[in-house]
Symmetry: C2
Subunit: 419 residues, 2 copies
């Protein structure tokens, strides 16, 4: 039945195909109620072939009676499908670039977790970049699409040397292929028993990853990363998991900022499971530890990895809430301190803390290590997390009672910020 | 016989024990020809107890006829022993600090490789620090002794923010205890099959390690490290090996500097084995590779590790020659460029290269990784190798034909500098 509807819709639509874009791409305008969902906005890349035009627009040509039904939210499965396709296309217009995966492939596989996650990370990248660029008011984001010859690619957005931000990178990557030996070893060291076939382990990894280093030492650095991983083992079994987190690294402690940050994250977590925030807050403190210094990297946030229960759908919803919380977590803090004055000594202390950031990222960060160990990775995108400038002084030890000693104390003994 | 001499000398010397130091330590002044070797310079720490006074001075009280024999280099074994002890004591006065190991223990075990190596690394530390401080003419070296509660310790000498040097660190460490699990894993990954007893692997590691970062971008950074390692396995078998190397990291290529540097190293190697220089030059190029960048860290030098044949004595001699070549390798290059002028752009390029240095040291350097993985290590000494300041710019790519592109070309394709 749904197929019939699609075919008949295609046939009707076919007779009304019209060139509606300056770029010359064809868009099929429906007759009636479904119009608001399509609106003729397609970008050229969306309609690569006649067959796909059909697939894309199938179901747009609804009869009046069906349109009325749709308006009453009593839709056929085909109508629901179409509504989802339209929503995807709408979303794409907001992105910083076309998705990494061909849009038609995404539409064809719209119910796959891979597709949902790719669209989410593209969406979050756009949200964050737009919010940051607006606050910066100076530089804009440089957008680079890159391809990985072993499979996949990414979109790196970097704003460097802006008015407010020293370096802000928001990176999406969607890579697939076979795990390298080194990466497999890293996976195994995390307790994953992976059965490879002829030494090969096909994988697919995607995520959004970002580090924002502001110029003003009173505006903290933020990092977030949300990712989804699939591995196919020798017996065909597919393992998958989600990972992610958002954490804040101030140069100086501002308790109100830390509380706002943690409360916003807690709200995002609590919608899904009351145990998430406390568990992932602790995980964050544990994970972002510069072991050799006995210090956390910052005032924490949330961190989780290898999440594969209760369900992929449930976890996707959770990851979505967290990722969408990045802007409300951070932007108010940035705006609050935008005009704070600072001394050269405060700037110098920021530079030393940047050095610690580099230490964590290069020595401990799993994402960086996985990236550096994955042949064909785009190094510039992985290492965009490093600050523009950093400093290491031998035996620098802040005097007791100073603001510098205050933050070190919190880095050595993490606090509970929400109770 | 030698024991008799020692006893009679001790008895005679004992009657002449005199307080000769402001610190109140007793030094036994010999009668005659051996005087030039002892000269009453003992530091207080050398003579911790009456018994050790005896051990230390045994044999000093030579008769005139024996002194004449000594002058003719016809010495008894006891005399040779004594001469060696005296030489050790003389050497110690030149050091930046007392050795890590108690001097009396060193004297008692003067023929052990551990002792020889500790004295060598202390000696090299002093040579290099003095040469650098003289060139700098501004700052002096801050000398820190540190102890490791698990066993051993070290002496860190750091000159920071000098006239010529941004940061110059020359570190000696002598550590022992049981290998950590992480360090054992690292050893095994290097192909060492180590049989532990109840999971324990007693080890002793000592070495001198140094990185010198000058301010002027026309003076290259140098690194050297010479080390000796012993591990005792479950069956009592003692494995040992030497490692080390010296390598140069210029910001801009200066061919004459690279040739001078390599030739000096080659001469030190050729004295021992003609195959050493070509083998260890290649090993250096391979080892100091920033894999994720496809670049070497600098113009190379020599590097070797796990050397355990043909003999410990032979290898010690080789290591000694290399370590003693550091000053003639490097100081002439520093002096040559001392007054070279430079632009802000050249300084900025230096900062980007410093960033690469940090990447190598934190991601790949075995010494750093071993240090960070060894509980109780002194982090400030391990990470003193990091530059005072570094920079990371997203997608920085020097234009063709520039001096910046010239050095990158050499880093991507190492050259033969001596033929």
């Amino acid at each position: 039945m749904s197929q019939l509807v699609a075919l008949s819709a295609l046939s009707r639509c076919g007779s009304r195909l019209a060139l509606s874009n300056a770029g010359g791409a064809a868009a099929c305008r429906p007759y009636s109620g479904a119009r608001r969902l399509t609106g003729g906005f397609y970008k050229p890349f969306l309609l690569g072939s006649a067959a796909l035009v059909g697939a894309t627009v199938a179901g747009f040509g609804l009869s009046r009676s069906r349109a009325v039904l749709a308006a009453k939210s009593v839709r056929t499965p085909a109508e629901r499908d179409q509504r989802e396709l339209n929503e995807i296309l709408q979303k794409c217009k907001h992105f910083m670039s076309d998705p990494v995966t061909d849009i038609n492939k995404l539409l064809e596989n719209k119910d796959d977790m891979r597709t949902k996650m790719e669209l989410l990370v593209m969406d979050v990248q756009a949200d964050v970049c737009k919010a940051l660029a607006e606050v910066d008011g100076g530089q804009t984001f440089k957008v680079d699409r890159w391809h990985r010859k072993e499979g996949g690619g990414g979109i790196s957005c970097v704003l460097q040397d802006g008015k407010v931000f020293e370096k802000a990178g928001v990176n999406v990557s969607v890579v697939f292929g076979n795990l390298s030996e080194e990466a497999t070893k890293q996976m195994r060291s995390r307790g994953k028993s992976l059965k490879s076939k002829d030494g090969k382990l096909p994988f697919c990894a995607m995520g959004v990853s970002s580090v924002i280093h502001p110029k003003n030492p009173h505006i903290p650095t933020i990092h977030f990363n949300y990712r989804y991983f699939e591995i196919e083992e020798a017996d065909g079994h597919k393992s998958w998991w989600f990972g992610g987190g958002t954490d804040l690294t101030p140069t100086y402690l501002n308790k109100d900022d830390a509380i706002h940050f943690h409360k916003t994250l807690k709200e995002a977590c609590d919608k899904h499971d009351q145990s998430y925030y406390p568990t992932f807050k602790k995980w964050c403190d544990d994970y972002f530890t510069i072991k050799h210094r006995g210090e956390r990297r910052g005032v924490g946030g949330i961190f989780f990895d290898d999440l594969d229960s209760p369900s992929a759908e449930g976890l996707f919803g959770f990851v979505q809430s967290c990722a969408k919380a990045v802007v409300p977590c951070y932007i108010p803090i940035v705006k609050k301190h935008l005009h704070d004055s600072y001394t050269p000594e405060e700037k110098a202390w920021q530079q030393l803390r940047r050095g610690r950031y580099v230490e964590f990222n290069l020595v401990y960060d799993r994402g960086t290590k996985f990236g550096l160990a994955t042949p064909g990775s785009r190094i510039e995108s992985i290492l965009m997390s490093l600050p523009l400038t950093a400093r290491w002084e031998y035996m620098h030890d802040p005097a007791k009672g100073t603001k510098e000693a205050e933050i070190i104390e919190v880095l050595k003994n993490p606090k509970d910020w929400v109770h």
